[in-house]
Symmetry: C4
């Protein structure tokens, strides 16, 4: 295993734990990373609640969603969603699919999720909504055609909603994908409240773009990642949350 | 005790702990299971807050709500509600009665609880509301006639609300009943927010049916059950929530 | 110290811990009990956040709010509120004053808190709102005339709100006062949501009265008290919340 | 180091931990204190999530935001905001900048945050909203001119909002600044709900002024500070939250 793969694996395990601990993932939902040594493959845990994912649970898949490793584990049924996004978006290195409760009301009402504060700025290009299900599949994304439709709806955006189901967030690496996943849910929470109060003034395209650049720059990204990591570790009894992390 | 009864007992104890830990039950509410060896009887804890229920607390009742075991424990007053549902619904193997806060606003306003996301799809046949109380009983279901009215209101549905009081969820086994109890409350939470945002697009009958089939299939059911179980055990100091369960 | 006083003291300490742990009290708020051996006096902690109150912190006061014990401790400034209610209401044996966040919006908008579910039924006689402050006292109830006005506003009711400040709940003993304090806040939470959904059907006077009788009967009262007690103890590391309490 | 500086340092560290533990700060946000021995300088942590700040992380700055200590640490980019407020407001001894979620909806909708309960009374002079960003800076306050505009918007007030970003709270010492930061967020939470219920009656100017005087008097201030301190320490495993603090 190359050093880059080792790092990707470690980050992927941690991403699973962070997203669980911050309430973005629960029993369900999953996060994957492209194989840094082979862009035609990606890594994703076997079918398991994210908070228990460890390195030995990680499988490798191709763009048909077929396993190319030889674990024999039972995979997530929705892996095709990851596969088709990696196929369509060479710029994307990580994909998260989740069901954060604050986003679903937007997905069903035609009210667009829009950046309302600087942490949501990274979605300045919009958040499309998918509503083109194969009804018989119970709103799961399990066949290649549906995966391709998902990827087409996502287009070149950073995130999208699935009507009555959840969200997909993608990014240029795992850390930015984790941050964007957490902040999309938080932005929706704040937007919901603002809409109850009146007519919000959203971030302009330019404000959003600048805010995204800021949040995704090394210092805030590293600070947030460390913060979430220590919280996840502390919740697992693997760190003392009161001490400065080193 | 047959092996099937042993399993039912163990599942019932765990269902009590899971539903408490997930906030569906608190000091009050109860969950029961039909006797797998004698369909005319069911098991239900003595009068006790669910998070402390252990096997030795479980009593056995008939469809009149009379104890057929010989514990001499003080039973839940509302056991008649379970009794009359088991009598009316041979397909039902488990019953949960709870007071989840997200559901009560729907029960008092004439706004129907409807599937708004895939986890709520299992209620695609509708959630009737009971409002036919014997006023003098303080909204508790404690007499046989009221129990029968409850069962009639439930009809062939998976769940129902009791105006200003709570909900009843039934199922083909304990695990599906636990899942449906948790997801009915969660669906209501999301539906509430969607209704504040605009006019939700609910799941169609067919979408709901397919989503129910998916969620109730072995893999998701087992995954959710394990997830909730580990969380309940961890909260009780009986498991290490960071380790992959075996 | 008589046995009855010992019991009152122990219950008062526990009431402080329960109400803190359930989020009804925080740094502020207080709960008192009438002296069971001398109805002209009442017990109330020295000025201290309720979660730390122990027996040695309890002072004794008369209806002028003057200390009749000899602790020399610094008392709560708002003790006059307790004093004047005990003076006006011989039926009241315990008083709680708190600032639960779910109640304050009702206190400032003219929307009456009304029983919307069976646990709120105990307020079937209504919840008056006090808005007759001595402006210079910063909305604290610290002078005898204001204490008397409070008692007059309460009348023969079980609870009242103070505009932009909080609530007062009284009862025939400590346990019922604790239960009513927790349930008034919970009822308001549910009522708030119901009002966002539509026009709630509240409990009728008769339904409320019957529900109050039920909730205040020995079995539910004891069950809830034990439940809250074990939770409070567990939060303090003084009990194992997973074991059946004895 | 003078005794006054030692005290300021210790209070600053504790303020970081309290504000994190109460949910006002998270990975981001910061709190500073003026140098009590040199009013032209102020103390602020190096760039670090507040819950890990210790004395050795604290840097000293002048009103240009330049470090006057010699730590060589990487500072918070937004320190200029603190610098320009200290320059403009000689009465201010502490500054907190945070992103509490309850405040942001107000910042984007033109709905003014107003005192709705006694703990919010301290903002009786109003809470202005800043919306005059250098768009290219991604809504961060990082250049001196923007810092000056912020200080001008704040004027002689105790707090302000930044549109789509967060809040700034100032005070005559660290403890009052911590209390005001927590209570501004809490007031907004309650105001939000009141606005959903109807037309709130806010505190009058005089009521607010009197309530501020009360909350900021020694007894409540000390009580709240001790309460938050013990909670923060308990969350860090540094105190037993069930024991009376000494």
């Amino acid at each position: 295993m190359s050093k880059r793969i080792q790092q990707a694996m470690a980050d992927l395990v941690l991403a699973n734990h962070i997203l669980s601990n911050e309430g973005v993932l629960d029993a369900f939902g999953h996060v994957s990373v492209r194989n840094p040594d082979n862009p035609d493959h990606f890594f994703l845990s076997r079918s398991l609640s994210p908070q228990w994912v460890q390195e030995q649970d990680i499988m490798e898949f191709d763009f048909d969603g077929d396993e190319v490793s030889a674990t024999g584990f039972s995979p997530y049924k929705e892996r095709i969603l990851h596969a088709k996004i990696y196929a369509a978006r060479p710029d994307v290195q990580a994909v998260c699919h989740h069901h954060a409760a604050s986003l679903i009301p937007f997905s069903t009402t035609g009210v667009e999720v829009r950046p309302i504060c600087h942490i949501g700025g990274m979605f300045y290009e919009g958040v499309p909504v998918y509503d083109d299900y194969d009804v018989s599949d119970g709103m799961l994304i399990v066949n290649p055609r549906e995966g391709e439709r998902i990827a087409r709806t996502l287009g070149n955006k950073r995130g999208m909603l699935l009507r009555g189901h959840g969200a997909i967030v993608v990014g240029e690496d795992i850390r930015r994908t984790v941050m964007a996943s957490i902040y999309l849910a938080k932005n929706a929470e704040i937007q919901y409240r603002a809409l109850q109060l009146g007519t919000p003034r959203y971030l302009s395209y330019e404000e959003g773009r600048a805010a995204a650049e800021t949040m995704f720059s090394e210092n805030p990204l590293e600070r947030a990642w460390t913060y979430w990591r220590q919280r996840a570790w502390a919740a697992r009894g693997e760190a003392d949350s009161s001490r400065v992390p080193v």
